[in-house]
Amino acid sequence: MSDTSSTLRIVWIYPDLLSTYGDRGNVLILRRRAELRGIPTEVVHVHSSDPVPAEGDIYLLGGGEDRPQILAAQRLRADGGLKRAAERGAAVFAVCAGYQIIGETYGDDAANPLPGVGILDVRSSRGPSRAVGEIVADVDPALGVGRITGFENHQGRTEIGPSAKPLSTAVRGIGNDGVTEGAYQGQVLGTYLHGPALPRNPALADLLLRWRVGDIPPLPPSWGERLHEERLAAVL
């Protein structure tokens, strides 16, 4: 948690630009899984006209359409707050369009890339076809998360640079390139599992919490685990 308080600060970046489809679920489930363990939380919504606070614990970025994505990237670069927070060691969880813009470059046109926020060593461009559907992937064993499931809906293809690692290996779906899905570098994590990726994968939500608060007790299995198993069974 931040040095100055015992409250876990969850910062939702630009819900007005990057909140296309259920991204709010990630905010809600992080808060719930922290509070069930007695960790007090504070949720901060940062609009695109406001500065990004530097003292957050977990920063969340959601999905967005093309134009809002470009605006969000421009504003985040000009603001500088997210980059400072990541350099300070805050956790960042970015989904879909958000994943692309925290990278080095992104854009419609691979030959004419747009600059991203540059906190994750990935480069994204537009792929040959849209990837739409359920996705299943096995997360890097070093992270202790296991198998994840979600829904992807994007046309991006993402190449991972030497400073970042693939988050997972795709079992079903496209993800970065049909082989790997998502990327992480330190405590910055991006994925194409859009919308409520954390509700659908409680272990991934707990990874972010562990990054900030250290060891956390397990929670009794609940509807999140049931849904996780149900979707895996439906897709595989």
């Binding site: 489809y21 259920g22 709010r24 679920g25 829904f151 999140g224």
Partner: protein
């Protein structure tokens, strides 16, 4: 029909034949198959059928079917109307509607958002009615900013008179491109898709509600001539005259649909006094808002396909002692992706008896658990009613909110109630 070229006549006749076959064999209402066959014979059929008629197109994310019904009921004051009342809202459905009513001089066509530009070009519609745009089934539908842009371009190239909701910034931005417009203050409950300026992307200033403007480029809410006050159930017309709505259809969303219908009827020369009695007769639209009585309990069916629709449904729920059943599927017509459940705020259901069912009830269960809403899992409406009769014999009403195929399944279980 005599004005139609021979080929178009043949095409229309073949289409009608296929449609009656489809109905006779119980496959559907025939709107789609009939139009599809007719189009194969005469690709310009829609334009041919629309020629010489005063067509109104009705489009939005939510409320298209209901508003189309309200407008066509209103315009029957003038004469016969051709309309796709079964909700087949793509060109095949439009062809069927127009060819089934060759004598109607006026057409009122519910139009899928994505098809609006094409249908506007082909029908040369005189009136285009636009109500709202919000996130909806994004695994197969277009992004709504892109939709609004296409609407805007199509309207700029048309001679259409737009009747549009000034309170929805995306809709207003599209409508501002039309050569003529009637602006209606029809309200907007769901605002999560319109915090950004459609023109430049700036963060919109949205107060005092319903005013909105962009501090960066200056785009702002157009001046309205029709307005609606939900609290007093009153519409104010362009002459400043007030009219009580007194609809049978429930809720603010239907008041909003009704003020749009009144403004559209005015574009056809009808006064609110002429139209309102017709709007008040409507109780349900294609099963929406229908009540059925089974096991001695009145069960009301509400259709909600996306977050904005769920918000409107919550607003018409009966008092908290009336239980509610939520049913969600994720078939192709619903969208395969249930992520949108997380955009809906379910906390308003706390303290109410809630049941979850449908093919994706586990998604609903997790969603409600996260919002700290108590719920019970069920397999069918009948099972819930049996349980309620045993446990709460004083219960006389239940509301059911469901998305598209879940709604149709429940409706079919009770004999396709209208």
């Amino acid at each position: 029909m005599s004005e139609l070229p021979l080929r178009a006549q043949l095409a229309a006749a073949l289409g009608r034949g296929a449609a009656s076959l489809s109905r006779a064999t119980g496959r559907g209402d025939g709107s789609v198959i009939g139009g599809r066959i007719a189009l194969k014979v005469e690709p310009n059929l829609l334009a041919e059928l629309a020629r010489g008629r005063r067509i109104a197109l009705v489009s939005a994310t939510n409320g298209k079917t209901t508003t189309t019904r309200l407008i066509s009921s209103a315009l029957r004051e003038i004469g016969e109307i051709a309309t796709n009342e079964h909700g087949a809202n793509m060109p095949t459905g439009h062809i069927t509607a127009l060819s089934n009513n060759p004598r109607a001089r006026i057409g009122v066509l519910e139009t899928d958002e994505k098809y609006l530009p094409q249908v506007l070009r082909e029908t040369n519609a005189v009136v285009v009615v636009l109500m709202n745009l919000s996130r909806d089934q994004m695994d197969r539908a277009s992004e709504i900013n892109l939709l609004a842009k296409k609407w805007r371009e199509a309207l700029a190239a048309s001679q259409a008179h737009v009747v549009a909701n000034a309170d929805d910034p995306l809709v207003a931005w599209a409508g501002l491109a039309a050569p003529h417009a009637t602006w209606v203050a029809a309200g907007q409950r769901w605002k999560e898709d319109s915090w950004c300026c459609p023109e430049c992307g700036g963060h919109l200033k949205r107060e005092p509600d319903p005013h909105w403007e962009c501090p960066e480029c200056g785009l702002s809410r157009p001046h309205t001539t029709w307005s609606l006050d939900n609290a007093t159930d009153t519409v104010t017309d362009p002459e400043g005259k007030e009219h009580r709505l007194q609809l049978r259809l429930p809720g603010d969303a239907n008041r909003s649909n009704a003020v749009i219908a009144l403004a559209t009827a005015a574009a056809y020369g009808l006064r609110p006094e002429q139209v309102l009695p017709r709007l008040r007769e409507i109780e349900s639209v294609a099963g929406r808002y229908t009540s059925i009585v089974t096991q001695g309990i009145e069960v009301r069916l509400l259709l909600a396909k996306n977050p904005a629709g769920w918000l409107e449904s919550f607003a018409v729920l009966d008092p908290p002692r009336v239980p509610v059943i939520l049913s969600v599927n994720a078939q192709i017509p619903d969208g395969r992706d249930t992520s949108w459940l997380w955009d809906v705020d379910y906390t308003v259901l706390r303290g109410r008896r809630v049941f979850v069912m449908g093919e994706r009830r586990t998604d609903l269960a997790l969603r409600l658990e996260t919002d700290e809403v108590d719920f019970e899992v069920a397999d069918s409406v009948d099972q819930v009613l049996t349980r309620l009769r045993a446990e709460q014999p004083d219960i006389t009403k239940v509301d059911v909110i469901s998305n598209y195929t879940a709604f149709q399944q429940i409706r079919a279980a009770y004999g396709r109630v209208q």
